[in-house]
């Protein structure tokens, strides 16, 4: 029994955290991947009492679900979108916001950010994005390093971002778990920002980065070594699952028969019944293996930093071998070379509009990447991987859209909008909840000053779950970090002393 205690304590702790309260005794065996880290609320909290209704009236409305209205209304009811359409009736008591000349879109979603784990300023003390101590750190979680006082969060929100996936870096083959957060102001911990019910992701990395980081350490130092590392890890995960499956089987058998005497222990010497059967001992719990097991069970979504077409093809093959799917290749500058394969595998590609050439594996990047993916029926996403780029994903989508059109490819405004809304929502496993302007979805939306694909357009208002979290010029939250640095915070004029 004493041997088991620490394990049970651990299980209990994480289960308690997962439920947010003390629950009943944990079930034997590792809990599901979703419950393995504190997940925040599994869904939006129930709304009680009268809900606030807001009618956003008369703007252009782009739903990212196939409709583009030149003039329509969006009815927000509490945290959700209640209706989208032309000339909606005004519910009694609803606040009406006139948006003539403005454009309403879903909130922008970025599948790839390191905001919060590489907080600004870029201080040594803020460097929390790469646990570059071993090539497999699948057990670490970006959420444990997410700094909600990163001023970059405010800049991203002002650019219309409502949700982002914060990933560990790409130094490792397995960088660790990502966390999907909402850009709500005032979060004091990651739990306050976590997107309710969003699954965890696993960051994996191909190519040059793991090679470079570990080439002079433990290895891998080649792409061969990279792939050997993935295979080793997934094979171990399969065996880890097997070990736990055996334990659960033994345990259930033991549970069924624990009150029966063990056959071989009944020596009958002193007339007593034989001693009880020994309870099976659970295997050691390994958090990296937990993460990989979650991938194999389909509970954790794989986000794979990978640039080259040949490597992405190889990763698709490896995933098929172990029976999991890759949810999104990130950066994927050569995705256009295998757009057909990505479409067939149901794997999305999170790409930049035009980054290229900063390393050998990114040398073949082209601006038509997203358009070619869309043409092939693959799911294209424009991501940022940058605290600057995240501030204007709408412009990056516009660049990629127009590059495609100039190349003779058909890309509709709706499709380009999906690159930064519905498609990233799918990649993050939250498409049922957000990513389009449809009744029943969360009211995550942006009011733009005009066409979101114009360089001159800015986000004027941003709503998250129906709550106004940004209004240009009047509601511009600032994180703790920046207090005292803005002129006027302390001295009202340069040189003034107090």
């Amino acid at each position: 029994m004493t041997k088991r205690r620490p394990v049970l304590l651990l299980l209990g702790l994480s289960a308690a955290l997962a439920c947010g309260k003390r629950g009943p005794a944990p079930p034997p065996g590792p809990p599901s991947a979703a419950a393995e880290q504190p997940a925040g609320p599994a869904s939006e909290p129930e709304e009680t009492g009268p809900r606030k209704q807001t009618l956003l009236r008369g703007g252009a409305v782009m739903t990212a679900a196939g409709q583009i209205y030149t003039r329509a209304d969006v009815l927000v009811d509490g945290s959700k979108i209640a209706a989208v359409g032309v000339d909606l009736p005004v519910p009694a008591g609803a606040t009406v916001v006139d948006l003539a000349g403005k454009t309403v879109t879903p909130g922008i979603i970025d599948t790839h950010s390191h905001i919060g784990v590489y907080a600004a300023p870029g201080l040594v003390g803020h460097s929390d994005g790469n646990e570059s101590t071993a090539p497999n750190t699948a057990g670490v979680r970006a959420g444990d390093a997410y700094f909600p006082q990163d001023p970059q969060i405010d800049r991203a929100r002002a650019g219309g971002i409502t949700t982002m996936q914060v990933l560990p870096g790409s130094a490792n083959l397995f960088g660790g778990r990502s966390v999907t957060v909402r850009l709500v102001p005032g979060a004091r911990s990651v739990t306050d920002a976590r997107f309710p019910g969003a699954p965890d992701g696993l960051k994996m990395a191909c190519g040059e980065n793991p090679k470079r980081v570990y080439g002079n350490k433990s290895g891998p130092s080649t792409r061969m070594g990279n792939v050997a590392g993935y295979r080793d890890a997934f094979q171990k995960a399969v065996e880890y699952q097997r070990t736990w499956a055996k334990y659960r089987k033994d345990l259930s058998e033991w549970t069924a028969k624990k009150d029966e005497p063990a056959e071989d222990s009944d020596d009958g010497k002193d007339g007593k019944k034989g001693k009880k059967r020994e309870e099976p001992t659970p295997p050691a719990r390994d958090f990296a293996m937990e993460t990989l097991s979650g991938v194999l069970r389909g509970e954790i979504l794989v986000h794979n930093h990978c640039y080259r077409a040949d490597e992405m093809s190889g990763m698709l093959e490896l995933a098929a071998t172990y029976g999991f799917t890759i949810r999104s290749f990130h950066h994927a500058t050569e995705a256009y070379k295998i757009a057909d394969r990505l479409a067939a595998a149901g794997t999305s590609a999170s790409v930049w509009a035009d980054w290229w050439g900063f390393k050998a594996e990114s040398f073949d990047g082209i601006r038509e990447n997203a358009a070619l993916l869309t043409q092939a029926g693959a799911r294209a996403i424009i991501h940022s991987d940058s605290p600057v780029g995240i501030q204007r994903l709408n412009q990056e989508a516009a660049k990629a859209m127009h590059a495609g059109r100039r190349a003779g490819l058909t890309v509709t405004d709706d499709q380009a909008l999906r690159w930064i809304t519905a498609n990233p929502a799918w990649a993050l496993g939250i498409a049922e909840k957000t990513g389009t302007l449809e009744p029943g979805k969360l009211a995550d939306l942006v009011v733009w000053s005009g066409d979101p694909f114009s360089v001159y357009t800015v986000a004027e208002q941003v709503f998250i779950a129906g709550e106004l979290v940004y209004a240009r010029g009047s509601l511009e939250p600032r994180t703790d970090f920046e207090l005292g640095y803005k002129p006027g915070d302390i001295s009202t004029e340069p040189g003034a002393t107090r």
Binding site: G169, W356, K359, A398, S454, Y456, P487
Partner: protein
Amino acid sequence: MSTHTTPPRPRRARRLAPAVALLSVLWGMSVEAAPPATQPTAPTQPAAAAPAVARAAAPAPTPARLGPVYLVGGELHVGDGTVVQDAVIAMDRGVFTVVGGPEARNKLPAGATLVDARGRTITPGLFAADTQLGLIEIDLESSTRDDGKATDHPVRAAHEAATALNAESSLIPVQVVDGVTSAAVAPTGGLISGQVALIDLVHGDHRGIVASPRVATAAHLGHAHAGSRAATLAKLREVLSDARSFPARRAAYDRAQSRELAAHPLDLEALQPALRQQAVFTLTADRASDILAALDLAAEFRLRLTIVGGAEAWKVADELARAKVPVILQPTQNLPASFDSMGARLDNAALLHRAGAPVVVAVLGGVHNLRNLTQEAGIAVANGLPWEAALTAVTLGPARAYGVERTHGSVAVGKVANLVVWTGDPFEFSSAPVQVYVRGAAVPGVTRQTLLRDRYRDLQQFNRKNK
């Protein structure tokens, strides 16, 4: 860990093999014959007006690969804030020979073939400030980099970017087809990095790409030297003082009768043009206090100063305006990325302009997408910079910031014929160049990227089974 950091013409690009790429001259443009000119001899400005290159002895400019080009129609934004409707532009032997409105039509030769630019927007070619274009092919591959000198000595004034330029860099056409025609190529590293070269983006022309090899000396403030602001400034003063007195001491130095100098004699020589205001002195500085230190240093040594970076320049906009010191900045750099840029903001350019300080918009810290100058300019406009000022900030503004406005930066007779004809507003994503001219020659719309795109446009062809 993300480590860091063509479009147009596609309509027809696929069908155009490189061999026939010259046809691209006429892409998107119809051609008409000029009406007989009223004055038969019409022609152009005297050849004497064709300086082509800045002061320093420079290689001869690339001769135009085609004959004269005559553009008629379109809205010309000259680059200095003026706009000409129904423009008439002639380019010959690499320079503008006629620039005007409809009245200039009679300056064109009789029977000349005209390029119809009606309905188009015409601007000077874009000028990329403070870049390493031609010095870097792949950032993370040191074997492809020539931007800095691997040495511990902080003073590298004699190090010349011009001598390392690769005119065949694949990056050059990628920028050109989106309208970038000139660049100030600066070496990097150290306290004084070396000599900045002015180039025109003539891909493949190793002899001709450098328009002027030493338009500026690039140096840095902040923690550039010995991990200390004070040490950085002290070292700069020491070097500039020795450089100032060096010409008079040269003989003594050669006789070995001189004290030890702060830098190698070649470096001290290389600083002479800057000390005589014949070349610009650029200083990288973001923090407001560093910018003020730069102004003081420039006043002390009578330097023609240009600030690079300038994240907090808006805080000292009035002083910059009084000193007429240009600031090369990147409008999207609005993050408190370090304690030197806590005041970074999106309207930096607008605030400087409002105060009367010269503003240059640049893509800093990355060399592959200088083409996004248009986006940067547009974002500056969205944050308060007037449109024409933004155009100046990517054309004549950088030319002035590097002291080459006599030959570059605007559409004017005698200046180098770098010109872009756009489908619409150059800053909008929906617009793209119809044609780019570098030194009067129409540039083909082919890049390594369009070749890749066209190779993988149809994936059917790759679906062969490996049996």
